[in-house]
């Protein structure tokens, strides 16, 4: 690495740390602290997940197993710290979560990493269901349906943090999130990290340059399991409770969604995805009862039209800035965004009005106007808005393909 790029990298990390320090001073409310804490947990989990999906090409449907087991190890330790008066600070509990996640990864990965592609995905799904079911059966270990709870404020303090108030928990999570992110980023710069990319692109060829692709998958799986366990431990400290549901399909699905929507192809993609989806989960439910539908819609649209995720878009914009092409490309992108938002608003109208056909409730309200679902005019309007949005997007795409806006507005392609 050249000196300037080293300095730039350093600047990014210092800025990242500074943002983490300042965030709770900007967003001071209790709600925003709660949301940011959850975001931090999912960021670590999604980054860990992307070590598999984006970096090694391993699609797992059961990564919540390692998150959950890390969380259980943490909560048991927290309980023991209080009951046995162990001299261990709760601040260090995430390390135990890491080890638990890694140990579980070693056990399960030992056989699941012998396969790749679809068989690996199927095994991960099966193991996920198995462990989640076992979680409900072994009540003494997993606490049954109500789970196991602990008291995070017990034990010795570190950095003067009692971990009682939310703000202490914020800095606790921020610290571990920063350390984990740095470690996982550094991993991508090591020989094993690069070989993981090679296994993603072409595992067969890796075997012919001296490395065992199974071994590479296994090692990445271990490390990824470790960081998932660490995230689980953060969650255990944050909520002071963990139940067998944490091990199950919902968490595994959520982390996949976050990673994919954020962008599996760039390192920071999962961070964006975790932030956006956590935000949607906590905020959107105040505005609409069908917020999960929007999440699904977002996922489908991303898979279809932006498979590189939001992080991929950010990377493209940064690339254009670097090459000095931003001025040339920006108008097309802005037009596309405008079209996308228009179509999205139309879709929102359709969804909200459709929901009220059966479920009733107060009419959908936007821009200071009520849109009543019984009026056919509103349905027509929604249809027109969706069509207009799609038309604008189409023009934006053709603008890029055909070079000029004039050519994009023609119905047929005209030879120049």
């Amino acid at each position: 690495m050249s000196r300037t790029s080293t300095l730039r990298t350093l600047a990014v990390w210092v800025a990242f740390a500074a943002v983490l320090l300042v965030l709770p001073m900007v967003f001071t409310s209790r709600t925003s602290l709660t949301v940011m804490n959850v975001m931090g947990i999912w960021m670590v989990f999604a980054l860990a997940y992307n070590m598999l999906l984006g970096q090694s090409g391993m699609l797992s449907f059961g990564h919540a197993v390692y998150f959950g087991l890390g969380g259980y190890a943490a909560i048991h330790l927290i309980v023991a710290i209080k009951a046995q008066r162990l001299g261990i600070p709760v601040f260090a509990v995430p390390l135990v979560g890491f080890m638990a996640g890694m140990a579980a990864g070693a056990l399960i990965g030992w056989f699941s990493c012998r396969r790749s592609g679809t068989p690996f995905a199927m095994i991960s799904l099966g193991i996920g269901e198995l462990v989640a079911a076992a979680g409900f059966m072994f009540v003494s270990v997993f606490g049954g349906e109500e789970g196991i709870s602990g008291d995070r404020s017990a034990g010795p303090r570190i950095f003067g943090l009692t971990l009682g108030p939310q703000i202490h928990v914020f800095y606790f999570i921020a610290f571990w999130m920063f350390v984990s992110t740095l470690a996982m980023w550094a991993f991508t710069k090591t020989p094993l990290g690069r070989l993981a990319n090679a296994v993603r692109d072409n595992p067969d060829r890796v075997a012919f340059i001296g490395y065992d692709p199974q071994r590479i998958r296994f090692l990445v799986f271990l490390i990824s399991g470790g960081f998932a366990g660490l995230a689980g431990a953060l969650s255990a400290v944050n909520f002071e409770i963990i139940n067998p549901e944490t091990l199950g399909a919902q968490g595994s699905g959520a982390v996949l969604l976050m990673t994919f929507i954020g962008g599996a192809g760039v390192f920071y993609g999962p961070i964006i995805g975790a932030a956006i989806i956590t935000f949607m989960q906590s905020m959107l439910s105040d505005f609409t009862k069908v917020w999960q539908l929007y999440l699904g819609l977002l996922f489908v649209v991303m898979v279809l039209f932006a498979p590189f995720g939001i992080g991929g878009m950010v990377a493209r914009i940064l690339g254009a800035v670097k090459r000095g092409e931003l001025a040339e490309k920006l108008p097309g992108w802005l037009l596309g965004t405008l079209g996308g938002l228009t179509a999205f608003f139309g879709a929102v109208m359709v969804i909200e009005m459709a929901y009220r056909i059966r479920e009733g409730g107060r009419p959908f309200r936007a821009f200071g106007r009520d849109f009543v679902h019984t009026s056919p005019l509103n349905w027509l309007l929604a249809g027109i808005i969706v069509a207009a949005g799609i038309a604008i997007v189409t023009i934006a795409v053709r603008w890029r393909q055909r070079g000029t806006l004039g050519a994009a507005l023609r119905f047929r392609e005209v030879a120049p």
Binding site: T190, L195, A198, R205, A207, G210, D212, L219, I223
Partner: protein, 248 residues
């Protein structure tokens, strides 16, 4: 010592016998070509030697070490590296990353995750050497999947030789190339296999006769003749089975 020894190698796929009792010895430093009609089993033979799958019976020695039944990475570590007929590189990674990954094991770096790869001076130096050698230094940052076909073939060779293996297997390295590109590829092959053992499968007879010290002719899974280019040209059986008018 012979670089490569095959003794009574047989490969069956179900009831079909694809390789029938092949014995072959390639001395170190020789450039050896394997020719034969389509479906003769040339690529299968390469797959057996490089460990893509094990022979049904018989023994293969690479640099004196037993290769039959060993996984490909084991065989690679005993000093044999191969290229593929269909370009087989890491498509989403840059040209530089492709070559760099291929240098690691031979330079003694194992499954390392506690050191930055950029700090490994030996890796960097070797990667630069290979990039210069294959003439792709100017496109180092380009994703391998976006290279032109001829450049991808050159990268394929670069990835194959980056580990410094003593025995190089090239599977149709000039397939699908124009006349001019073929000339470039042959020059490259000559350069990069200097002082090493080369086994090459090739359909272009001008390449084979220009490059090889010795040639083996594989027909229906059997070697029907082995010898210098002159001997093969004069061989009656080969003419009947394969070369026909082409060699006359």
């Amino acid at each position: 010592m012979s670089a490569l020894v095959l003794t009574n190698v047989v490969k069956n796929f179900g009831a079909a016998q694809i390789i029938r009792d092949v014995s072959l010895e390639v001395p170190a430093g020789e450039r050896h070509a394997i020719i034969g009609p389509n479906g003769a089993g040339k690529s299968t033979l390469f797959n057996l030697i490089s460990g893509a799958f094990p022979p049904t019976s018989g023994e293969i020695l690479v640099n004196g070490q037993k290769a039959s039944g060993a996984p490909p990475f084991q065989i690679n570590r005993s000093g044999l590296s191969r290229s593929f007929q269909v370009t087989n590189i890491f498509h989403n990674m840059s040209v530089y990353e492709n070559v760099r990954c291929a240098t690691l094991w031979a330079l003694g770096h194992r499954y390392v995750f506690w050191r930055f790869i950029s700090g490994m001076k030996d890796v960097e130096q070797r990667t630069e050497e290979i990039l210069d050698l294959i003439g792709l230094a100017a496109v180092r940052e380009t994703p391998a999947g976006l290279l032109s076909y001829a450049d991808q073939r050159a990268l394929e060779i670069g990835v194959t030789i980056a580990g410094g293996a003593k025995v190089i297997l090239l599977d149709e390295p000039t397939a699908g190339m124009s006349h001019h590109e073929t000339e470039r590829a042959v020059a490259l092959i000559r350069k990069v296999t200097e002082g090493r053992t080369l086994v090459i499968v090739e359909h272009d007879m001008s390449v084979v006769f220009g490059l090889a010290d010795r040639i083996s002719v594989l027909v229906y899974g059997q070697i029907i003749a082995s010898g210098t280019p002159a001997e093969i040209r004069a061989n009656k059986k080969v003419k009947e089975a394969y070369l026909g008018e082409e060699a006359a």
